[in-house]
């Protein structure tokens, strides 16, 4: 059963069409890779799903457990996001950055005083351990490597207890060896928790290796949709031409 349904969405920026009639569905536990050249609309598509942008036309619907739980700022509680630039707060510790993922669940006044419940702290620590940073819980972000930072970003998204995780070029800023290892661990964690993930990727080989399904975007349109084995040289050419 589809838990995310994207139907005919269109998005323009300053009269320039960025997304045109985009439709696809995401099943529970499915890993989707979105590939395409720079400016194809990959980031805008993810931002629309994350409610960071509003499509001009079309509809995005969600039907997972807790899909209706909206946060005060209009975002969905059960959608997590991992960013290309990690988007962490350098002066805070690993634990504090991950705990931030619980802000949607905590009492607002308590959170303003930096107070989190034992349950929140336990969830954060568990996820930090899962991404392999159990030994760096109290380390400041400015003191850890780029790869470790992205692991913190993943732990933060997991701490939101999401049903869907969106990842925008999560390993583009990392060297290939570290990047592949992190992507591998990320996909493994999603599978373990049966989470759906939509990952924007630059690297076709990663998309083929880690995704259940690949969507190819070119100039705001879907020009390919299929399994990794269906992504032939011809299809790649069509996406990147």
């Amino acid at each position: 059963m589809a838990i995310v349904k994207v139907e005919n969405i269109k998005k323009n920026f300053a009269h320039r069409r960025v997304l045109e009639n985009i439709s696809f569905e995401v099943e529970k536990g499915e890993i989707i890779a979105i590939i395409g050249p720079s400016g194809a609309g990959k980031t805008t598509l993810l931002r629309c799903i994350a409610s960071l942008e509003k499509p001009d036309e079309g509809k995005i619907s969600f039907s997972f457990n807790g899909a209706g739980e909206m946060l005060k700022n209009g975002k969905r509680k059960k959608i997590g996001m991992v960013f290309q630039e990690f988007n962490l707060i350098p002066r805070l510790t690993v634990l504090m950055n991950v705990l931030v993922g619980r802000l949607g669940y905590t009492n607002k006044l308590a959170s303003l005083l930096g107070l989190f419940s034992d349950k929140d702290i336990a969830i954060a620590i568990e996820n930090i351990k899962k991404v392999g940073l159990g030994h760096k819980i109290n380390e400041k972000i400015s003191k850890i490597s780029g790869g470790e930072r992205q692991r913190v970003g993943i732990a933060r998204a997991l701490t939101q207890e999401p049903e869907v995780i969106l990842a925008d070029e999560p390993v583009s800023n990392l060297d290939p060896v570290v990047g592949e290892k992190i992507l591998n661990d990320f996909v493994k964690l999603c599978k373990e928790k049966n989470l759906a993930a939509i990952i924007n990727l630059h690297q076709i080989d990663y998309a083929k290796k880690f995704a259940d399904r690949i969507i190819g975007l070119n100039r705001g349109k879907i020009v390919f949709e299929g399994t990794p084995s269906q992504l032939t040289e011809k299809a790649i050419h069509r996406i990147y031409m």
């Binding site: 975002k75 988007n87 707060i89 002066r91 805070l92 802000l103 607002k108 303003l112 930096g114």
Partner: protein, 252 residues
């Protein structure tokens, strides 16, 4: 081929600045003779009366208290106005313009003038000094704070947006950790500055070391004047060292 150290335009600027200095001197009657008179200050030089220093304890505390209270009030005012007048965080552009205008007025009128205005309006007293310095410092700090906020990395805020953080949560988790080192730096600088202003305003009647300095100067008690200068020097030097230490700790 020769390397040209100065281009025509730069040379012109140097010539112009000399010309402007010459004209200014002419206007205020500054002549080389005046420079020769400067060493006359040595005539005043007397050994500081160190036995007078214990009598300056209360005045020193008053000066520090004026500087501290005014900086404290300024921090609170400028924290609020700083957020409201930062383009990327202001709740509304009308509020932005109002906050900016308040900061601009507070900043452009010098603290000494605020002090004289308040003394004229309310009378002599330390409290007038506190408010005068606080008003001007709020204008300065508020602007520094707003500019710091405008330069923060917006990426962590985007992550907080997805997580569903409220405006206040974004400030606590996304903005404060980024601006805190710069804020503390500005606050330390402001306290240092305010201490000097508190001494100067003292001479206009708000009390403290400045007042003692002026009274003894008028009575030609130069040994006491120099004792006060020793205290002022130690005080400002100590504050500067403590500030430098705190800055290095913050930057760690």
């Amino acid at each position: 081929m020769h390397y040209k150290m100065f281009r025509k335009k730069e040379f012109g600027i140097i010539i112009f600045s000399f010309l402007l200095f010459f004209l200014s001197s002419l206007f205020i009657g500054l002549s080389p003779q005046h420079f020769l008179e400067l060493p006359k200050i040595v005539k005043l030089l007397e050994l500081p009366d160190l036995t007078f220093i214990p009598n300056l304890f209360t005045d020193t505390v008053v000066t520090i208290a004026i500087a501290y209270s005014s900086t404290f009030i300024a921090i609170i005012i400028s924290l609020i106005l700083g957020f409201l007048s930062a383009k990327n965080l202001t709740p509304h552009f009308t509020i932005y313009y109002i906050a900016r205008t308040i900061l601009m007025i507070a900043r452009t009128i010098p603290d000494i003038i605020w002090g004289l205005l308040l003394i004229a309006a309310v009378g002599l007293g330390a409290v007038q000094g506190v408010f005068a310095i606080a008003i001007h410092s709020s204008g300065m700090l508020g602007r520094f704070f707003a500019e710091t906020i405008e330069e923060i990395d917006p990426n962590p805020l985007q992550a907080l947006e997805v997580i569903g953080a409220s405006y206040s949560q974004k400030i606590v988790y996304g903005v404060f950790p980024q601006v805190l080192p710069a804020y503390i730096n500005y606050i330390l600088y402001m306290f240092d500055h305010n201490l000097r202003v508190a001494i100067i305003l003292g001479m206009f009647g708000i009390g403290g070391l400045g007042f003692k300095f002026l009274v003894n100067l008028r009575l030609f008690k130069y040994s006491k004047v120099f004792a006060i200068l020793v205290v002022i020097f130690i005080l400002l030097f100590a504050v500067e060292r403590i500030s430098a230490y705190l800055r290095s700790k913050i930057m760690e």
